[in-house]
């Protein structure tokens, strides 16, 4: 089957990151940052980590699995809306669209945006099998870094936001047309820095249900 191994797409990630860093410095008179078709906020990673990990504790041991699923679903649903908005924005149209040679190139554009947002440092596509599977690596996920700092070594992967996100990317590219394609794919985290691995890795495939 045809597949893509990271590194040879036509996307200029630095250009995208620069545009986001500059755009995130512009506020309207209401103190709101409208960028890439969404309202952006800049806030400490510690806030998001407290929310995620205390939410799981707050749900108790019996419901911790449900809590993890809820966090992943919340991220997937929002990643789906967010990146749908992003790719319909004038910024995407002007800056990213001209770099896209194939539909699959959008993944690289999405990753550049996610990197610029400070979600995980360097991010790379390890393998993309169009319509079937996305395997990607994140070097410094703020979730794993935050978990290690707050709670020490974990037994399972802790990057719920990124798990939802990678599945959302596949939903947008290969699911039914927006808004009907969300949750077509689901993702697992195969390696996680919170477990002591050197980076975090995710694989998104078609959902079994």
């Amino acid at each position: 089957m045809f597949g893509y191994k990271g590194g040879n797409m036509a996307i200029d990630s630095l250009k995208i990151m620069h545009a986001i860093m500059e755009g995130s410095k512009i506020r309207d008179e209401k103190g709101i940052i409208p960028l890439f078709g969404v309202y952006l906020s800049l806030y400490f990673t510690s806030y998001y980590n407290i929310i995620s990990y205390d939410f799981i504790s707050g749900m108790g041991k019996r419901r911790s699995e449900k809590a993890e699923k809820l966090l992943i679903s919340a991220a997937q649903e929002c990643g789906y809306s967010t990146f749908h908005g992003i790719r319909r924005s004038w910024e995407w149209e002007e800056l990213v669209q001209p770099m896209l040679e194939t539909v699959d190139d959008q993944i690289e554009g999405f990753l550049s945006v996610a990197t610029a947002f400070g979600w995980g440092g360097e991010m790379e596509v390890i393998e993309l099998i169009p319509g079937n599977r996305l395997h990607f690596r994140v070097h410094e996920s703020y979730e794993s870094v935050g978990y290690l700092k707050r709670q020490g070594i974990a037994k399972v992967g802790k990057c719920y936001m990124l798990r939802g996100l990678v599945a959302a990317f596949m939903d947008l590219l290969y699911g039914d047309a927006y808004p009907n394609g969300c949750f077509t794919f689901s993702a697992i985290e195969t390696f996680c820095r919170a477990k002591g691995d050197t980076s975090c890795e995710f694989i998104a495939e078609k959902s079994s249900t």
Binding site: K30, I32, G58
Partner: protein, 179 residues
Amino acid sequence: MFIDWQDKLKRIGNQVVLFDIPITMHCHHYNINLQKMLEDILGSEGVRLMYKAAEESNHTAFKIMLEEYKRIRSDKSKLEFAASIYQHCGLGVISFQDVGPNGGRIISPSNHHVTGWLAKYGLRKTPGCHFTRGWIAGILEVIYDLPIGYFEVREIHCKMMRNTVCEFDVRIQRGQHGD
């Protein structure tokens, strides 16, 4: 007071930092989805979690920021500094006109969570600025050199409920009075 925001918001290696503290950019879809999930699943406990997370993270960060600007000495200047951070982070506009170590009133004519909530879900029947309440508590506790949890911030008017501004009432938490 001049703050070089270009220098303060930057990338260091793989991280995005504000005053060298790791930050992340999230949009209203994620922030509001988290809020809705917490409210729907945990109810008042979820609201409390959001408030405490904002209070704790802001308390830690604002202390570091003030350390860097030792010339900001008066309480009034510190409040102005806090308001400029709120605006710079895309959180909105906030006005600390009537507040002191014993509490007071604070107004926000616009904020990220109001804009985001209204865009996604429309009007609410109850106040919804839990993030800003916690954010305010964290700021005031640093400015007046008080421990986390000292203040209780309530929202008495909210734009998510069609009020013209969001208004917050700050009081000393029961059990925290010196008398």
